[in-house]
Amino acid sequence: MASNEIMTLNMGPQHPSTHGVLRLVVELDGEVIQKITPHIGYLHRGVEKLSEHRTFHQTLPLTDRLDYLAPMSNNLGYVLAVEKLLDIEIPERAQVVRVIMNELTRLKSHLVWIACHALDIGAMTVFIYAFREREKVMELYEMISGARMTSNYFRVGGLSKDLPVGFEQKVQEILDTFPGHLDTYEGLLTKNTIWLQRTVGNGVISAEDAIDYGITGPALRGSGVDWDLRRDNPYSGYENYDFKVPVGENCDTFDRYKVRLVEMRESLKIVDQAMKRLKPGPILADAPQVCYPPKESVYNSIEGLIHHFKIASEGFPVPEGEVYQGVEAPKGELGYYIVSDGGTRPYRMRIRPPSFVNLGAIEKMAKGSMLADLVAIIGTLDIVLGEIDR
């Protein structure tokens, strides 16, 4: 048999380590990867097209379904973009709650990442532990929004409802127990020989290449680029919190792992600071043309009912213009570019998904490495197909 024969291998879309419906056509020389052709779009639902036919409030639930592991980050990017177009001020309490929920979302998303990444490489225990602990955050989600995943909790102008009784206690439980959980994961992985052999020197991408390929989020910081939108272009009051931005050195999978672990600890620190800032107050902006009226007014007065009906049926007009709002989602920079023609629906809504752009670099990262390492590279990119295909 000729030694230079290239074998073409299909991987996915139904493959446990491709994290959804990703299909890769891999060309191999022996076990060494020569070329990767990703095929995506199996989960394309046309969110951008749909949004052009819905009011600004009706578009919000669609954003939950992009990165379904981090729904609140998606909500936040969208509401911030619309609020920027409207130019309205959000009350302090709503901003603090948004920060708390966003950081818990980051924690939740990173827990799925560490669970699946470790499982792909062969560490089953971490998978079971991380999913068990993720349940605590899911319970909190259910408590405040009624849904475990598609929370749809934020609103243009603030929040859909105030926090329930017992919220503080539940968050405090998470703050008290999670540092210990994170120690457990680190104990299981950081000095584990198998883990080190699979991750150190795997999927190396230099800082210049990472910028060239548009990589964002922990994957970019793992390559040594010190850039975090929460700190550099603060939104939703992030300038008031004190947190470190971890940066890697060796640009490999192990450094990206360390960056994400530190990020989880930093998220807990931000939540702790935010809990201290949480004061009673309004949760919706003083913008009656945009926000739904309180339920008492809807049920007890004809004006309130008409007000609710108008916003629910017609929506609210948004000034003509275009804005781009990027937020630091768990996977990277999630951007919403919204063009408004002055009507009640977005004229055009473009979502800049971090996973989509990060996945574009997979061939660069995996070329020349072994097929088995590809699984580790997919894991370290932390992709979600709901967001890639939209």
């Binding site: 779009g41 290449d209 390929y213 570019y337 004229y347 055009r348 473009r350 752009v357």
Partner: protein
Amino acid sequence: MAENNRAVVKLKERFADSVLDCKEFRGEVTVTVKKERILEVLKCLRDDLRYNFLTDVTAVDYLGQTPRFMVVYNLYSIPNKDRIRVKAPVTENDCSIDSATALWNSADWLERETFDLMGINFTNHPNLVRILMTDDWVGHPLRKDYPLQGPDREPYKGRLS
């Protein structure tokens, strides 16, 4: 104001006849340039003004207006932590623009998506094929004249009962 932005000043000086418009809205600067010189403008922004990160490439369909399409580039400067948006009008008859893949590799997939969903042809793109829709798909779904329910179905007329 947009006129005082250092990038805008530089672009106006260097590409005086090609800058069509510059606007500031909600603190965001948008520069519209002729599509013939888009690569030079982007290169100038990347190399001389340190907008080294191509965040996004997309397009907007202004059906009924001429030119019909607007290709939008969102750039970010990691050293200076600021954004700029560059737009270039593209007509329906000559629906093409130079590909930015020569400057950034991230443009590869972003331009493929814009081609797939909006039907903008990026000349000199190394692999301009559909990315989200299937290869044999007809039409470009994000165009305003493409019906929401798809081209081969009756529009939804509400509940029958």
